[in-house]
Structures are given as C-alpha cells and as structure tokens.
C-alpha cells in the first residue's frame, strides 16, 4: 500500500568529508595505501593502540564488581576532580578555593556542546564566538546549533605554514568586548601550529584588555609535547593572569579512550558560591540531552589518574605516543631532503600533535590520492598517527613526486 511518508521532503545529508576519506581508503586495493585522514593514534605497525595503563585499570575495575547505578548528572565525582586537577595542576588556587565546577561530558564534542549551550543561555556579552582560522571542522556547527554566531581571527599563515602572530594579535585587538574567544590549548587542530609561550603571554594580555571570555579547547593534553604540564601551560597561564576561563577536555587521544567518550567541561568562577550556581545550571542543560554520562571510560580515567603507579605508567605511554609522532615528523622531513626536495619542510617538524598542515595544494592532494593511494583531507592536513617507520619512506617519495 503506497502511502504518503512524513519524510518525503528530507534531503540527503552531505557526506562527512573526513569519513569520506576513510570510505575511499577502504575501497582502495593498493597494498601501499595509507590513511592519513582520521585523527586516531596508530602504533608503528599501523594498529590501534590500547594503553597498558588502560588495560590495568580495567582489570582493577572488573575485580571491584561495582554496580551499574546511574551516575549523578554531573558525572563521576572522582573523575571530575582528577580531570580538573590534570588541567589546572593540583595546587592551583582555583581548585583550592573551590571556585570552579567540572562536569563529566561525552568526550570533547559533548563538552563543547554543553559549553556552547551554557554560554547561549547565560553569557551576558555578545553571542559571538571567535574561532582561529582554521579550526576543527565540528566547532562551527556545534556553536551554531547552540545559537551562537561564529566569527574568526587570523591564525594560520599559509606562506610559512606557521603561526600568523601579528595577524592574530591584530584581529583579537579588534574583537568587541565580552565576546567569546576559543583557543586551542595545544596541538592545534588541524594545523599543528601552536603559539610559543612568549606569544601566549601577549595573547593573554590583549584578550584581557578586550575583556573577552576565553573558551579553551584542550583535546590533546600530554599528546602534544609528551609532557602534560607543558601542554597545559597556556591554560594555567591564562588563569594565573586573571582570566576566568571555560575549558573543554577530552581523553579520547591522550588515554586512547576514543569510543568510551570521556571528557570534562570546566567553568572557572568568581568564587565557590558562583560555582555552585553554575553547576546547578549545567545539570539542567545536561538532563534533557542524555540524563547522566556513561561510567565506563570515566572510571578507567579516574583509576589511572588517581592510582600512582598507573598514573606514572600513563605519563610514560603518552610520552611514547607523542615521541613516535615527533620521530615520524623528523623521518618524513629527512626522507624529503634525501629525495632532493627543494622545498622548506621545517614546518613539519615545528608543528606539533597529531596533525600536520603540509602546505600541499588541492591538486597535489588529489595526485597523492590518485597516483599513490595516500589519503588525506583536501586542505593538505595529514594525521601523523597514520605514518609508520614502515611507510614514511613511501610517503616522502610520494610527496616529493607531487611537489618537485
């Protein structure tokens, strides 16, 4: 019986550009193919990596035979506390005076979403969120859907494949007061370009002058330099400098807990009383989305962070992951030099974290994919995690071939 459908007018949603890369990669039969699209860490055999500290934590948790009762709306308390301490440092005055609230969220996306919803409802200033140009592709739709307007400040300088410090300061100095500025705490996605500490200091100053609300997105703490304190330096500096920031954290990459969806959202407030009010409102925002968060990943993360031997093991392993990436960067550049490339590839080494903005143009990217089965996004971004000692030589040859 052919009847009318409610959905006749629904258009097909546009395909996700990054997933599209993976789909095409899967179909490719070339044995030398490389997937440099999606941002998940791979070991030197190109395999997903489950951290030992995670396996150990899981065993500890399994032995405890815990129940499955609902978590509070704001999540597992031991997790939220440890999450905040990791970002701010345990001795941070903010934590000691209880003037912040941290809720457990559905990884980084969930954290940004709750943050966006919170600002849309309560931010008294302009509802303009300034993103670096470029930023993670999902930032814009998240903030937009929450009802915020998106604007940009200069960030990436294509001619140097580096940080457009002057452009950034210039743009930031013109942002209307009380607007919101989003900063990537470390390992900028997609460019891998981070400001140096002295540059962060100047940014902090000008942001203060403009009286902007700072929204830090820290998805890669520990994963960038290999050192969790170094990677959190900018966040801590801003707080010391008097900014009451809001902060999103993810444990997808630095603990390899991708599919467990572990994250946190923190609001630094004026005092403990304000933090309580803000917390109560965050719960109101969370409840109609998913009621309360999933326990598994948060328990794993909390166990790791709060058990000294596991925490040490984690720090070693995250250092290991970061080091492997750094080594691949060096080997790629060495390979390009060896091939006689006349280009300056220093940016590949200067950039940090999982991603590298190669500077390749769309036509070159297309050739890499068609002729060499090297898959990456059109903007020239590669995920260094997809590079191994086994294929870095091939990659250097391929890039050289399309750029010489």
């Amino acid at each position: 019986c052919t009847r009318y459908s409610w959905w006749g007018g629904v258009q097909m949603g546009p395909p996700d550009p990054i997933l599209g890369v993976t789909e095409a990669f899967k179909k490719d039969t070339n044995p030398k193919k490389m997937n440099l699209g999606v941002g998940a860490y791979r070991d030197d055999q190109g395999k997903p990596f489950v951290l030992s500290c995670v396996r150990k934590a899981e065993a500890i948790i399994a032995a405890k035979q815990l129940d499955k009762e609902y978590l509070p709306i704001g999540g597992l308390a031991e997790f939220s506390k440890a999450c905040a301490q990791l970002a701010l440092g345990p001795e941070n005055e903010v934590l000691k005076s209880s003037r912040s609230v941290t809720v457990q969220t559905i990884s980084g996306t969930g954290s940004l979403r709750i943050g966006a919803n919170f600002l849309a409802r309560f931010h008294p200033g302009p509802h303009d969120v300034y993103l670096p140009k470029p930023s993670w592709g999902n930032h814009t739709p998240i903030f937009r859907d929450a009802g915020m307007q998106l604007k940009a400040y200069r960030y990436y300088e294509p001619s140097t494949c580096g940080f457009d410090f002057k452009g950034a300061l210039d743009d930031i100095s013109k942002i209307p007061e009380q607007s919101i500025i989003l900063l990537h705490a470390c390992a900028h996605n997609p460019t891998g370009v981070d400001p140096r500490p002295e540059q962060w200091k100047e940014i902090a100053d000008i942001v203060k002058k403009r009286n902007l609300l700072v929204f830090f997105d820290m998805a890669y703490q520990g994963f960038a330099s290999g050192d969790i304190d170094r990677d959190a330096w900018a966040v801590r500096h801003f707080i010391e400098n008097g900014h009451n920031i809001v902060l999103s954290q993810s444990f997808a990459k630095n603990m390899g807990l991708y599919g467990e969806r572990v994250g946190g959202f923190t609001v630094v407030c004026k005092d403990a009383e304000e933090a309580k009010r803000v917390e109560s409102q965050l719960k109101i925002l969370i409840r109609p989305i998913y009621s309360n968060p999933p326990v598994n990943g948060a328990r794993i993360a909390a166990t790791i962070l709060n058990t000294p031997e596991l925490r040490s093991l984690w720090l070693e392993e995250v250092h290991g992951m970061a080091n492997r990436i750094i080594k691949m960067r060096e080997q790629l550049v060495a390979g390009l030099k060896k091939n006689g490339s006349s280009h300056n590839w220093q940016h590949v080494i200067d950039q940090i974290g999982m991603f590298c903005f190669t500077g390749l143009k769309p036509e070159q990217v297309e050739r890499l994919t068609k002729e060499f089965s090297v898959y990456m996004t059109k903007d020239g971004r590669i995920s260094m995690a997809g590079v191994t000692s086994g294929n870095v030589g091939y990659l250097a040859d391929a890039i050289h071939a399309v750029t010489k």
Partner: protein, 406 residues
Amino acid sequence: MSLFSEVPQAAPVAVFKLTQDFNNDQFPNKVNLGVGAYRTDEGQPWVLPVVKKVEKIIVHDDRLNHEYLPILGLPEFRSSASKIVLGDNSPAILENRVGAVQCLGGTGALKIGAEFLRRFYNGSNNTKTPIYVSAPTWENHNAVFSSAGFEDVRPYRYWDAEKRGLDLAGFLGDLESCPEHSVFVLHACAHNPTGTDPTQEQWKQIAEVMMYDNPLIFYPGFASGSLEKDAWAVRYFVSSGFEMFCAQSFSKNFGLYNERVGNLTVVARDADNLKRVLSQMEKVVRITWSNPPSQGARIVTITLTSPELFSEWQENVKTMANRVLLMRSQLKAKLQALGTPGTWDHITDQIGMFSFTGLNPKQVEYLVKEKHIYLMASGRINMCGLTTKNIDYVAESIHEAVTKVQ
C-alpha cells in the same frame, strides 16, 4: 564583576533530590520508593548475571579496542535492538525500511528524535508543532522536547485520578481534536509514572483515531515482562502502516543504567526515506556527542546475538519482573487486610516498576516526614523499593497516611 553573577541557582531535579534526602536521613527503617532502578529483595542494586558474564568476555577479548564507534553507533547493536522491539520477522525489517541510531540511554534516543523532528517535521524548524505528552508523564519528556526548541508541549488526557485507571475517553478525545500534524509521545508499556497501560483493544481504538489524523508517533521506553507482550502495541502500529520512531532504553531491562545504552528505532515508509532520515540524524548526533559510548552497546549486542546468552537474559528479566509482581500482590493484600480505605486493585492492575498509588500530596508529605518513606509528590512509588522486610512497615504507613491525612 563576574560574567556569571546573574546565573540563578537552579532547582535540583526532584527525583534526585528525593534520593539525596533519603541518603541524608538517619532513620533506621527508612525506605526509598523514589528513583526508578531495580532493587533486589535485600534492597540492593542488581547487576544481571548475564551482564557479569559478558563483561568478563569483553575484558578478556584482546581483539577489542577502544576505537570510535561510527556516528550512528555499533551496527550490530542497532539492528539487534530494533529486532527485539519489532520482532525478528517484522515485515518492516524485511522490507529494509527499519533503521536505528545508537543513543545515550532512552533520554538520548528521545533527544535525537526530538531534534530531528524540530528540524524536519511539519515544515522545517517548525517549533510550533504541538507535542503531546501524557498527563502525567515522565518528568523529563517536557524538557527534552522544549530544549529541542518546541514551544508547544501539551498534555493529552491519560490518568483518571478518580477511577485510578486510564481515561480512554479523554485520550481519544484529545487525539480527535488535536491540531493537524501534532506529535504524540506514547508509552509502549509500563507507563511512567502511572503503570497504567491501554489494553490491546484500547490500543486498537487509539490507532484507529490516529489513522484518521495520522500524526507522527513516538514511543519512549520499554520495560520488563515478555518481550512480545511488551512490544505488542509497537508491533501493532507498525503492521497498521504507521511510520514512527521508537526510543528504546536498556537501562532497566539490562540493568545497564550508567552505561547509557539506548536505541532510536526508525520505521519509515521505504528504504529511500529511511536513508535520508538517518543521514540527517547523523548530523544531529555529530554536533551533540559525535559518536556513542561503546561499552554498554557491546554488552547488549553480545547478549542478544548469542542464543544461550539471550535465554539467560530473558531469565534475568523474568526474575526482576516476578519480584515486582510479588511485591504488587503482597502490598495490595496487606492494604486490604488492614482495611485501608479505598480500592487497591490498581496496584496489581498496573504494570512495570511504578505504581501511581493515588496518595495525595499531603499524604505523601506525611509518609516522607513522619514515616521516612520517600516517594514522589505525585504519589508514584517504585515497587522495587519494596522488600519482604519493609513491606509491612510500608503498608501500615500507607494505612496511617490514608486514615489520618485527608
């Protein structure tokens, strides 16, 4: 001067505040009849034996990792979850017009459904579409739909306080008079909070009226008992040709409360419509949580796809359902034996975890303050909070409340 100085303190969610007050109460014989989670006869949470078994399997399987699930979730989870509500041989499934989105619990499934409807149903971004929820309904339904942007969330008559049963005439009346293209949220079974479900005959009448107007239907939740019996209404509507969303929760029937396992089943007119709908739901998911948590979905999938484990699960579900049935019959018997004024048949007529006792707010207050028995102001009790050890105390206290407090 702080940006957040004007942020007001929000009132806590009532049901959680109730549990908090219960926890802070020092009275030795206190009873918590609030939150909807299963309890054993010792008053303890219960991790299903089959779940413990499957968790061990997962922990020892070295092939498993923590990689991202697809945006719509674990494919085998989605299909096996849809099968248990629609039936393995559902014609809709065989016609390739059933799809699903793995979500964070029943709440998450409702959320994705609501967000999709607001964007694509009855025009585009039509926030004025009336959303009908039962009077009363789960307290979070209102918030889910209003936070998705709907401005007109209104009640349809459901609970008849006087006769302590279904107000069918009122229900059908509201269905007949509702504006065109209204959305109705129906509880497939074990209505929360009343425990009062339409009979199969009554469901047929409901479907007939809806057929005339054909507003979209949306089912929340799914409780214990026989799978086929509990899903009867959903399957009847599917076989009657309705398109619908069905928001499933595995919190209670698998006891996986804190793993946030839910499934939004979509039954569409045909495969092409289904494809487009899912593609748009994917966009909604991406800006909400990107992709869902894997642990709970893995547990459910492994269980549902293994004949042995599936049987074991059904046994575990029966264990829970039977204890609830026992508490219902014992509570009624004790109230009748005490000669408590009023009729108490509704306690055994109602189904699922909850019972709408019919106690008024004053009587509820009496129970909470004087007897340290915690229940919702609506008079809703969680039958699982009753045990063979506390049922006498509860029955006597209800008797006192009803006789002393008008």
